[in-house]
């Protein structure tokens, strides 16, 4: 989820007249809640996004997965709209919702016909002010089962899913707030108590820890009026200091080997990389694009097309607040090994850090990002999420141009310098090999080659 948002939000390019724009008006209520509004009368709809600055990094020891479990509980009913009315009221009128939890943030949204806007405010205000009063152990138990099923579906029963968790857990040292994953462990999910839920809510779900954005068929004045009416009575509270972060760089290569119920070996190489919006973060996005985006990209050409060592290869800058993750992953073609994949990846990385990308490669990467951005601007919800993210990351929602400039300013030299600084020997290598021989079906009927 987060990856999508970031991919849409990164953008830019030197094409002289970027026609892209995203502007809004804002208001901060006395209780610290920031309200952002951007009208768009071309669609009879509205999107409301509320972004809380709390994520899995804020979890207590022995409670991994809690921020996400809590996110589920936000739909289990509050004082005025008991379960399941949060969902049934809005769906009856054509509205839908979802939410997601990352290491840094928890994000909730509602979208629907614009006549639902006041109802959205009422529902959000109800849960932000009264959720704890009507929380029960039964609600916690019911969502815990669902989240455990989510873990099984998204990781345990998905090829290479456990390797994805291992990357997150191993790249940062034990105790670092990113050394556990938002989905958490079964044991910790089972350990969560009703008291944990109430405490977490009272600590983090306060108006001065949130940004609420509305985009759609409504004037900002009306948005601010509704915000004052429904949300200004909720008192602000002192927020705890965020956990201190110990220095965490890997000084040498760290290797993890694991087996999985898969048909082909896979290698994942991960580095710690510049944190969101800091120097080098945009370059890492461009670097990922140059390495693996599309069939002309360097690693696709080398690993998949020319040497045919891999059936797929992907790179990504996972942008986070305390430190990002740059990773490259490749799945081996039949008869090839993770060792070969890694050697070819390293060879290409060396070429890139030695000579840098061409101007044409960089311009193409920028052009793709500009299209991503324009694509995101088409719908109300993505715009609402982008505005909220900008508010949190840059201190003002109207930061599109600032964000774009990070990419416009990048040069082949700055990308090379970033590659040299990030793609260092201190890295994590996760190798996954098939647990058993290929399935009977494949042995007897599989490819004739």
């Amino acid at each position: 989820m987060l990856t999508t948002v970031l991919a849409l939000a990164i953008a830019s390019g030197p094409p002289p007249s970027t026609p892209l724009s995203l502007t809004s008006e804002s208001l901060t209520l006395d209780n610290g809640l920031i309200i952002i509004a951007a009208p768009d009368h071309s669609v009879p709809g509205v999107a409301l996004d509320i972004w809380y600055r709390v994520g899995s990094r804020d979890e207590e020891k022995g409670r991994t997965g809690f921020a996400h479990l809590f996110e589920h509980l936000m739909f289990m009913g509050a004082r005025h709209a008991p379960y399941p009315r949060f969902d049934s009221i809005m769906e009856a009128a054509g509205g839908v919702n979802n939410a997601s939890t990352s290491q840094d943030f928890t994000n909730y949204y509602e979208i629907g016909p614009s006549n639902l806007l006041e109802t959205f405010f009422w529902l959000e205000a109800d849960r932000l002010s009264t959720l704890d009063r009507v929380m029960t152990d039964e609600k916690l138990k019911s969502q815990r089962l669902i989240v455990q099923n989510e873990r099984r579906q998204s990781y345990e029963n998905r090829p290479y899913g456990m390797a994805d968790l291992a990357v997150e857990e191993q790249l940062f040292p034990a105790g670092h707030p990113y050394s556990w994953t938002p989905i958490g462990s079964h044991a910790d999910l089972e350990a969560a108590t009703l008291n944990d839920v109430v405490t977490f809510f009272r600590t983090w779900y306060v108006p001065n820890n949130a940004v609420l954005t509305v985009v759609g068929d409504v004037e900002p004045a009306r948005v601010f009026e509704l915000a004052k009416k429904y949300l200004s009575f909720i008192p602000k509270k002192a927020l705890p200091a965020k956990k201190p972060v110990a220095p965490s760089a890997l000084t040498a290569e760290k290797r993890v080997s694991m087996t999985d119920k898969v048909e082909a070996p896979k290698v994942i190489v991960a580095w710690q990389s510049p944190r969101s919006t800091t120097a080098g973060d945009a370059e890492c996005d461009l670097l990922a694009s140059i390495l693996t985006r599309g069939k002309a990209s360097r690693l696709y050409q080398r690993l998949v097309h020319t040497d045919q060592l891999a059936t797929s290869v992907q790179a990504n800058q996972g942008t986070k607040e305390l430190g990002s993750t740059f990773l490259i992953e490749a799945v081996a073609a039949p008869g090839h090994t993770t060792k070969e994949l890694l050697a070819a990846i390293d060879d290409e990385l060396k070429k890139l850090t030695d000579k840098g990308p061409t101007k044409a490669e960089l311009d193409a990467a920028r052009a793709r990002l500009e299209t991503d951005f324009a694509t995101g601007l088409q719908d109300l919800r993505t715009r609402a999420m982008m505005l909220a993210r900008y508010q949190v990351e840059y201190g003002t929602a109207n930061s599109l141009q600032t964000d774009l400039e990070r990419y416009t300013r990048a040069t082949p030299e700055s990308v090379t310098a970033t590659a040299k600084a990030v793609l260092v020997p201190g890295r994590l290598v996760v190798e996954v090999t098939p647990e058993a021989a290929p399935t009977e079906a494949v042995k007897s009927k599989g490819g004739a080659k």
Partner: protein, 497 residues
């Protein structure tokens, strides 16, 4: 990261809009907590005592694509949207996996891959670099009854985008060396996928429902069928596809006339082919098994899929069935999700959907459930599917389904890619161009009785095929759950018996 609901659940609702239903709690839903006796209220909280009213909504009218037919038969379908930041161009051909000749499952998809692998004397890498420079990526999307080549970028790039699209479609290199690479890669990827219970479930379900007919295999075929394909198969397949069964779909701010002019210039020379070469698509009823098992020992979850062949998009029941689906499994508060996820905690999400097209694509209700509750979960799933046919729907549920479908359409029409997909699906299924525009008015006239009648005409829960993918030990749970099912027909991950 981790979302509350998996949006892929909504994809099950097939081509059109996401949907909904109401939790008219069938059986008691999860507990509603009692209000504490001495409740402390915040000053000002009384504003929450009154639920806001929901005023009437201003009317929304979906667009009708503007159609122009070129001399060679190519249709140009344009949805123009002033000021849109993105222009999407898609060439849609009415040939998908249903056009794969017998024994050549995956040919349409491989043909798409070869179009991307070089054209107009340019290599695959040249094409990709050219697209990149425009800020675009060529997307080849094979589907059941058609496939799409598309590009999207800023509207100012429309001319070179269209030029690239025409090169790829009309001047493929079909180079033998590239073929070997693309072919090896596809076979390897198809083998990799066999480790996925989800893929195995799709293979087994399609094959059980449609046998070796045109809908009986997945869009990409399987490792065995694709391994047997040759470059000549691809050349022949593409030579038979002509402009008479294709459409250029443009969505964005470029005006209709400019798109038509570009189409004439770039696609006007595409030579028509004799219509008789079109592969027949005889989707015949087969003797379906009641219970199918694909063994994946030791898995933490079981993939359950329950369904049957349904009706084509041209069915007069189309709109009613969409409403029915929104109530049954097409939304968060649908009966299936409320029961299997929210009430029982068996799954992260349960849903249902149709695949409406030219042919009678399947209806499927599905969930990934925890292994040790597979029996009770299947029982509840079958209960909900049976009930939607056997018992009257409430007016509230039907009203909810209508509202969600109507706004779902608004939502889809915001984006160029999803709008293009809707228009392409209408074209491939041979539907009238005003289908989107007439959808909401048709919705509004439906009654609960009509929705149930459509469900009754279309679905026969007692004979639906149940596909179970996971640990074989779950079979013993079925009898314990009170389910009377025959011995399973075992199938491989390829879907074959």
């Amino acid at each position: 990261m981790n979302a509350r609901i998996l949006t892929a659940l909504m994809v099950l609702t097939a081509c059109a809009t996401p949907t909904v239903a109401k939790v008219e709690p069938v059986k008691p839903v999860a507990p509603v907590a009692p209000t504490p006796p001495a409740e402390v209220r915040l000053p000002g909280e009384e504003v929450l005592d009154t639920q806001p009213t929901i005023p009437a909504l201003s009317a929304f009218e979906a667009p009708v694509p503007v159609e122009t037919v070129l001399k060679n038969g190519l249709k140009v379908l344009v949805v123009e949207r002033k000021g849109a930041p993105i222009e999407s161009l898609a060439l849609v051909i009415k040939r998908g996996s249903t056009s794969d000749p017998a024994g050549k499952a995956g040919l349409a998809a491989m043909t798409g891959a070869m179009l991307e692998a070089g054209s107009a004397k340019k290599s695959a890498s040249d094409i990709a670099a050219q697209a990149n420079a425009l800020g675009a990526e060529l997307r080849v999307m094979p589907a059941t009854e058609g496939f799409t080549l598309s590009l999207a970028a800023l509207p100012s790039k429309v001319e070179p985008l269209a030029g690239l699209l025409a090169d790829v479609a009309l001047k493929p290199n079909f180079d033998a060396k590239e073929w070997k690479k693309v072919h090896d890669q596809r076979v390897a990827q198809l083998k990799e996928q066999l480790a996925e219970p989800r893929v195995a479930a799709g293979n087994a379900f399609a094959s059980a429902l449609y046998g070796d007919g045109p809908l009986g295999h997945g869009v990409f075929g399987n490792a065995t069928s694709v391994a047997a394909l040759t470059l000549d198969d691809v050349k022949k397949f593409w030579a038979e596809a002509g402009p008479g069964e294709a459409a250029l779909v443009a969505v964005g701010s470029v005006p209709n006339q400019q798109v038509v002019d570009l189409a004439n210039k770039l696609f006007g020379g595409w030579k028509p082919v004799a219509a008789k070469t079109k592969a027949p698509e005889a989707v015949k009823p087969v003797d379906r098994p009641r219970l199918v098992l694909v063994e994946f020992p030791g898995r933490p979850q079981t993939v359950l899929q329950v369904g049957q062949p349904a009706v084509p998009m041209s069915s007069p029941d189309l709109v009613a069935l969409r409403v029915m689906n929104s109530i049954l499994g097409g939304s968060f508060t649908s009966r299936l999700n409320a029961n299997l996820r929210e009430k029982n905690g068996y799954t992260y999400g349960a849903g249902s959907g149709f695949s409406f097209g030219r042919n009678n694509g399947p209806f499927v209700a599905s969930a990934n459930v925890k292994t040790n509750v597979t029996g009770p979960a299947l029982k509840e799933l079958l209960y909900e599917v049976g009930k939607i046919v056997d018992e009257p729907l409430t007016d509230d549920e039907v009203a909810k389904g209508k509202s969600l479908l109507a706004y779902g359409l608004v939502e889809q029409l915001q984006r160029a890619d999803s709008t293009s997909a809707l228009v392409s699906q209408l074209f491939v299924a041979g539907m009238p161009l005003d289908t989107l525009k007439s959808f909401v008015p048709k919705l509004q006239t439906l009654t609960a009785a009509e929705v149930q009648a459509a469900a009754k005409r279309t679905l026969d829960p007692k004979t639906m095929t149940i596909t179970v993918v996971g640990d074989p030990g779950v079979l013993s749970q079925f009898e314990a759950a009170g389910l009377q099912l025959p011995a399973p027909q075992k199938r491989t991950a390829l879907g074959t018996p």
